[in-house]
Symmetry: C2
Subunit: 254 residues, 2 copies
């Protein structure tokens, strides 16, 4: 009996963003694994077991789900946003590469989802409308100097930048350090968008500038988009502004 594992992207959280493919994968699984708060967003199915774990236990969660699938079950690992963007996709692939040979015979599917940067960008206009980067500010898995080098490269070459995991309790000051670094390359007036919980009751999306970005509240669930020199803010009477990065690039001086 051959087991199956799907790694399923839930999108930003609200059901309106959940693709039919993701809904089907969740409904058809014998067992669900995932970070507790993500599992709570998935409708209950009779006879389905649920295996919540902490958000720092990605490797252990991937291995437990693969062991379960290898016993012949259909297992789904849930991921916020898209599984391939700073989420469970790479953790599952790593576990397969380093685990028992039998895990390589499992039927593994990754089900894409709306990742946070796309949801936040859509809410405000099109700030990622031209070339852009996605960068995690967490230094759990990479040294801080590499993060700074990537911020230099991205801002210097004129990419818009989506920052995942901007702040955690363990590293309250690094977001400010990242903004300082970006100020070496970008004007203080560069638009910066903060988005959190798009589509949920506690949704919060707002626009500031690089000058004051450090003072905007943020946490691990906030997605920050830093524009380019060309990113525009379009004021609208009685409506929130639109923020977009034009499709046509000007030369960058860096």
């Amino acid at each position: 009996m051959s087991g199956r594992l799907s790694v399923v992207g839930l999108g930003p959280g609200d059901a309106r963003y959940l693709t039919p493919e993701a809904s089907a994968a969740l409904a058809g699984a014998d067992a669900l694994y995932g970070y507790g708060p993500y599992l709570e967003r998935v409708p209950m199915v009779a006879g389905q077991s649920r295996h919540p774990s902490d958000n720092r236990e990605e490797s252990a969660r991937a291995a437990a789900a693969l062991r379960h699938a290898a016993r012949g079950a259909s297992v789904a690992v849930v991921s916020g946003g898209d599984p391939g963007v700073f989420a469970m996709g790479a953790a599952v692939c790593e576990a397969i590469e380093t685990g028992p040979q039998s895990w390589r015979t499992l039927d593994v599917t990754v089900v894409p989802g709306i990742t946070a940067m796309l949801a936040v960008a859509a809410r405000i206009g099109a700030p990622l409308g031209h070339d852009f980067c996605a960068l995690s500010l967490s230094d759990n898995l990479k040294p801080w100097d590499l993060i700074e080098r990537r911020l230099d490269a991205a801002a210097g070459a004129g990419f818009a930048i989506a920052l995942y995991n901007p702040v955690s309790r363990a590293r309250p000051r690094q977001f400010g350090k990242a903004m300082d670094r970006l100020r070496r390359h970008l004007p203080q007036t560069t638009p910066v968008v903060f988005g959190r919980a798009v589509g949920r009751a506690e949704e919060n999306v707002n626009v500031t500038t690089l000058a004051t970005a450090d003072t905007t509240p943020a946490d691990m669930a906030t997605l920050v988009i830093v524009g380019t020199r060309q990113t525009r803010v379009v004021a609208r009477p009685g409506r929130s502004p639109l923020v977009y990065t034009p499709r046509a690039a000007a030369e960058v001086s860096a």
Copy 2:
């Protein structure tokens, strides 16, 4: 009477990737605007008008849709993938900024979708599992030397790279030039993924290396992912390989 405009991401094309929010926006529109082949993917609704246009006419299409909405209608502009990623989102925002003041009072919504790089990445594993960039190789709207500078910056700093619009009839040689540029920074063995039409009958996803990437067929609808020095290819007996970029970054020497 106040008009409404939604810019709707269709995802990669198959209905399994269309979010409930996108389905509702399409079904509720009085009129649909978009590139002809994208419009053909949308189920017909009685009484709804359809306004196909060529794929090079983004600005004119955005203006026509806004004029229509300003007459009090509910208009949807369809976009392949996600509207915010090299698609109609920025074109609509530009048209609003440069158009009549009355367009700023319209109710404008951007409905996110599964963009090509997420769909292709999911099909093969998690090649964008760590920091990455999205870059269009089209030089219609930016000079080629800027594209090369961005390739240098992204590869030099260890980002995985998703390339949109890699090849067109008007510029058959630029994809090869881009691969040459990346070879200055990355080993010939770097994994490169080609993906096209994910989820549709003509789906084609395959893995090669930077050494032979130029000889792989590609067109405007192909999405190319170039890995990093750390991207892994995991062979699986009787199955296609998994390609992923580990969550933990090693130092880059560049």
